[in-house]
Amino acid sequence: MSNRNYLNANYNVWSWFFTTDHKRVAILYLISITVFFLVGGAAAVLFRLELMTPEGDLVLPETYNRLFTLHGIVMIFFFLIPAVPAVFGNFLLPMMIGARDLAFPKLNLASWYLYSLSGLFGVWVILTGGVDTGWTFYTPYSTTYGNTSVLSAAIAAFIAGFSSILTALNFLVTTHTMRAPGMTWFRLPLFVWAHYAMSLVVLLGTPVLAIAIALVGIERAFHVGIFDPKLGGDPLLFQHLFWFYSHPAVYIMVLPAMGVISELITCFARKKIFGYTFIAFSSLAIAVLGFLVWGHHMFVSGQSMYAGFVFSFLSMLVAVPSAVKVFNWTATLYKGSVIWNTPMLYALGFIGLFTMGGLTGLFLATLGVDVHVHDTYFVVAHFHYIMVGGSLMAYLGALHFWWPKMTGRLYPEGWGRISAILIFFGFNLTFFPQFVLGYLGMPRRYHVYPEEWQILNVMSSAGASILGVGYLLPLGYLVWSLRYGRRSGKNPWRASGLEWEAESPPITHNFHKTPIVTGDVYDYDPTEPVELETEKHPEKVTVQ
């Protein structure tokens, strides 16, 4: 068998920069996303150090404000939104449905250029231009009182939005038109369903963010009164437009992660996933409901009390499809044959942390409690449980699970488990105290605070340092494994799914011949003994 694969097909630099191979675009994304994650993480290190003491003794207030703005914009627009879809969606979606590539390979490459250029521009603007509005760009602070770089930073987010629109369009068209023979809708892996639902949200929501940013630009440049009341505008209009996109953006970040978890749980429980159709349709339900709940960010904004009632009610409904997913994942373990390896540790960690994130979301949807905890550390803790405990855990689980497929190498399993456990405990130590701080009343975006809150803040900063070590470990051992890791066969996990029928790493066109699907999805048998390649002794490994 030939050793040619998508990685060594061509070593020319331009063959990477002008590639239209969905797998190479995924690798380009993986590299850029890692860079942005390190930038956003560095900002977090600095402000967690500042918050070790109640006084503002490490950085100036304006520096602190730029740091949390940098952290928010980079982590949301340039890490979390593209992380799972642009890396794993790009790499896997065509393979999972038995296609050679995405429907529009050139648009796919264009989306990476839009993303990377807007990301670099955004970081440069925030660092040099002093953008300190937070990632939310609330008016009239951003339009009238912030400096001119605010608009440049917003334009970076605007352009990044087009990058995700192109990716979403590609996923929708590919899923509709390029499924292999026999790959019916209800044989699609749940990863594909989740990306399909996410793509709908991106296509419908992102243009509204673009409109909001364009209106900010028009107000700044031409003094048309849109948001600033001094010009006759309405400051709350911006919040409505912003959250109409940015609340669904939460589901853009979490739906693909849920897709990952469905794949990992079923593979390492060695069992058909419980409630396939319920999980698939709950993704669509979350996508639809996600558009109807933006007003729960505005309960104390001056929005009408009756609007508060409606948005609270609708927000409660999101709990139902989310709970359905959590219960189905848990039930999948029942009577399975559970393997506690690295990707599974991330998946089980995800379920626990996402459950906590979701339940604390109900606190915020409950009107009488939200008045107290709105804009406090309770909110910060809640969304980090969803975004970091949820999306980032899933991202790391996916990275370990599909690493052998993407690189043809196995990662060191022992190190993988150590880092997964460090991240789980570091995460909880960082963010659990913030729930307590929030109910005590500590407002977010404060660089000084009353001294009675120091102990909880020190706990949080200590947790963050453990978390930091947990994140750096995979960076080290995964890069190490590229050269020294053991070679992986086609299917190191004995997993079901078309991507595991391709070579590791796959050839440029993915499959030697188009697969024909005849069986059901997730064809696992828990009674069948299984040995994973990571568990074999090195001498027994047969290199394919």
Binding site: T144, P235, V300, G368, R445, P526
Partner: protein, 327 residues
Amino acid sequence: MDSTFQLFPESASQIADRVDALYLFLVAVALFFTFLICVLILYFGVKYRRGSLAERGNPPRSNLLELAWAVVPFLLSMVMFVWGADVFYDIKTPPADALQIDVVGKQWMWKVHHPGGQSEINQLHVPLGRPVRLRMVSEDVIHSFYIPAFRVKQDVLPGYYTQMWFQPDRAGTYHLFCAEYCGTEHAQMIGSVIVLEQDAFADWLSGETGDPPEVAGARLFERHRCGSCHKAQGGSGPSLAGVFGRRVPLKSGESIVADEQYLRSSILNPQQHIVAGFQPLMPSYQGQLNESDVLKIIAYMKTLEGNASASGEDTGDGNDQPPETEN
């Protein structure tokens, strides 16, 4: 505000205990489900670990089970919704006899104006056991008035009056924070709320000086020569006699109730609503009058008695609430 380690905030208002009860209910639900999921994961994960002797297999799908774990979360979330909405309604609905105090937020300080003319900065003195209603507006960006010990918070907007209320039920000094990010010194836009026994509050009021807002407002009205156009009859501007609370016909054919919001925008954005029968001659007073001045002029305008008046109330801390401001 002692500096020892805390896990639960002190409570000092009539609503705080109800918010805490609801919160503890939510904590109980959250703990129950978190433990349920974690225990199930660990139990299944250990019992059905690969190589164990447990019985395995693919159980048939169960629509009843799926239905159960959709319906139970739904019902629980509806309990949260109704309970939360009930508390919220009371947080948002001040009693008619509340003492009204004005709050003006600006980068990065809070100005407080009492109905007797006393003013303070970054401090708010309130009497124990009496409902207090704050009418709030911002000079610049959005701020948020937050008193954790009272469990209440309300954004303070530029251009629109918002309100919040509370009834302190424990004397003491409590944190006051700005909760909406407002720029460089956001974390320093803090202060304290001082709850005094009624006698001590009266003493404190009498120790402070300042003209009542309607008196200061009359002076501003005079200085800016408002009366040269707004005559009782035949002026180039509409008469202001008895204007507060009256329905005003507009040039556009619509009509609008002259509440505080309307009066404010008529002073600062006079072109927004032109009264029927008048020309758009009035200049904007933006930049000449700050929000505190506007509040004083409105207080003065409320004292202007006149025919067709719909407002018979007294000034200051009375029942002169406008319809709720909804933005």
